[in-house]
Symmetry: C2
Subunit: 344 residues, 2 copies
């Protein structure tokens, strides 16, 4: 069952008012968890439902879960179903927002799933669809660290590295819907092999997966580290963000060195993006940024500023950690949902 | 004096009609030459004036030259001065289009030159200002190889590498006016030192300057090459685009190898830009592209397609050589001039 984890955006109102409150359900459909927020017109979170997803679940069963947790979120918010105007899903992969199709979501094992049609059939309300990273970017742009800036780039570091671009207040999705694939920017020709098949992509140098590879390699070479012990204690088979944060807190020398290296490559990524798009802000989100915040971003910012071209006296670019944490994607999906409703 | 070099855009009309033709003067202010086009509302070129610039000329004398060649272009076009609605200058450096100021143009030795005010005082018509690469990008977008696409990136390879971004039909200039500094995208951490002070920028790997460095290094190491002989014959102290084209034509092994390497890095640049912005087209301009055309771009395209993420069945991205040659910048300046007049 979903455990309720109300964030600071919660609006604690009397339940009586909820009968007249229109909401949208913002869904973050991750590879490992499903999160549904009930969000009102002022982007206040009225309820949160979250649940781990089973890695081997079929598309049908996952879509049924989304429907069930959507109804549950409305119920927790005390809002009758007729006041739920739409659901907007951020999905981890390539999507066609117009046709409501998830083309390819490797983490879910999905290909060409007509999510819009199938979820719509279960819920009888409009279903909107977006890429999860684009949703997270819009979340941080409208409600989080990017608020008040015109052009923003969101960088989300997790098992991979994804990005979203906001230009002139709107998501730039690109001619094939493939804009923001910044994890595959090559920053070191001939560098380590990436999951995409190429070498030297920043994802293969600075993602959590790359960091874990480097930590394990150092340990195999004889370096002392608490990382494996921390993973065992927490019953993790992977080096999660919480393990990273814990190891950093303990001053683990292997983790400190691997982190420094990852931050260096992320700084080159940031500088490359600044030299390309000259945005007003760059927001770095994902689990590591959520746990380490400014401690993670400060060295990235400092090195990036050495790398991008300076314009004397016009240093306005903000490089910040995200401020919405795990809610960024689902909140952004809700924001996108409200926008789409406004357009129709 | 400027020699007239009418391109294929020339509209050969009777001079009698010219009394009623409104024109704009598009100026490409390069580090080595000044080009002024007289352009009508349909973007037809009515006259071309071009002249080398003296490297040691003061800003005053260069601004006087711009004024003199502007008047001359109108005269050659047979258009009375009262029909010249504006002049728009593409300048090689950082500019403030709103205030008409060239902040910094290293190739001209300019800093904080109020070009708009000073040229306006000499010509008594509105003066608009743009960055030269942005102007060239708009030229290729509206009249050249990028015609008919929605989002386009222009890459101009010369002594440096510059870029311009068109998003949704409009130039994206960035929050500090610094968008498109794509020559300083790092593609090889720790690579050769760039003029900007950093290492591994694509400009330090694939510009004409970088290619010349690599050719000279190979020759110093004992490799046989016709390049120095070609430079001598043409009385060039630098390896110009025409020398490159000639050496390629002769199958010079050093040039072939250096070219292949430069094309490889440009392909990584193109792929990085596709993974970031997912544009409909990428147009590669500048002297080498003008001389070698498809022979230059085809290997870049092939390697870029290996590097950027593919979207099955949606391979619409065009990677093309520019089609306007030396006129791109001045034509684009004229297009920008017409747009600005339309806005005021």
């Amino acid at each position: 069952m979903g455990n309720v984890d109300l964030g600071k955006h919660q609006h604690v109102g009397g339940t009586g008012l909820r009968d007249k409150t229109d909401i949208i359900l913002g869904v973050d459909l991750g590879g490992t968890s499903l999160r549904v927020l009930a969000v009102d017109r002022r982007n206040q979170i009225l309820a949160v439902e979250k649940n781990p997803t089973k890695p081997d679940a079929s598309a049908s069963s996952l879509i049924k879960d989304i429907a069930a947790f959507s109804r549950k979120a409305a119920e927790s918010a005390g809002v009758p179903w007729q006041r739920v105007l739409a659901v907007c899903v951020g999905a981890p992969g390539a999507v066609d927002p117009e046709r409501g199709i998830v083309y390819k979501a490797p983490n879910l094992g999905w290909e060409n799933v007509p999510l819009g049609r199938r979820l719509g059939a279960l819920l009888s309300i409009p279903v909107f669809l977006s890429n999860d990273v684009n949703a997270g970017t819009i979340g941080e742009y409208v409600l989080g660290a990017g608020r008040g800036t015109r052009d923003m780039i969101g960088i989300f570091v997790g098992t991979g590295i994804g990005g979203g671009l906001v230009i002139g207040g709107k998501l730039h999705e690109g001619c094939r819907g493939a804009a923001g694939e910044i994890g595959h920017i090559v920053v070191e020709r001939g560098g380590p092999r990436c999951g995409c098949g190429k070498k030297g992509c920043v994802e293969a140098l600075a993602s959590r997966t790359a960091m874990e590879r480097d930590v394990r390699r150092a340990i195999r070479s004889g370096a002392k580290s608490v990382v494996l012990k921390l993973m065992k204690e927490r019953k993790r088979t992977r080096m999660t963000s919480s393990v990273i944060a814990r190891a950093m807190g303990k001053g683990d020398p292997v983790m400190l060195q691997v982190m420094k290296r990852a931050q260096y490559y992320l700084a080159i990524l940031v500088a490359n993006l600044v030299n390309t798009l000259d945005p007003e802000s760059i927001v770095i989100g994902g689990g590591i940024a959520e746990r380490l915040g400014e401690g993670y971003v400060a060295p990235i910012r400092a090195t990036a500023r050495e790398f991008y071209l300076r314009q004397d006296g016009r240093e306005r670019i903000k490089i910040l950690p995200g401020s919405l944490g795990d809610n960024a994607g689902a909140l952004g999906a809700a924001v996108l949902g409200w926008r789409r409703l406004g357009q129709t």
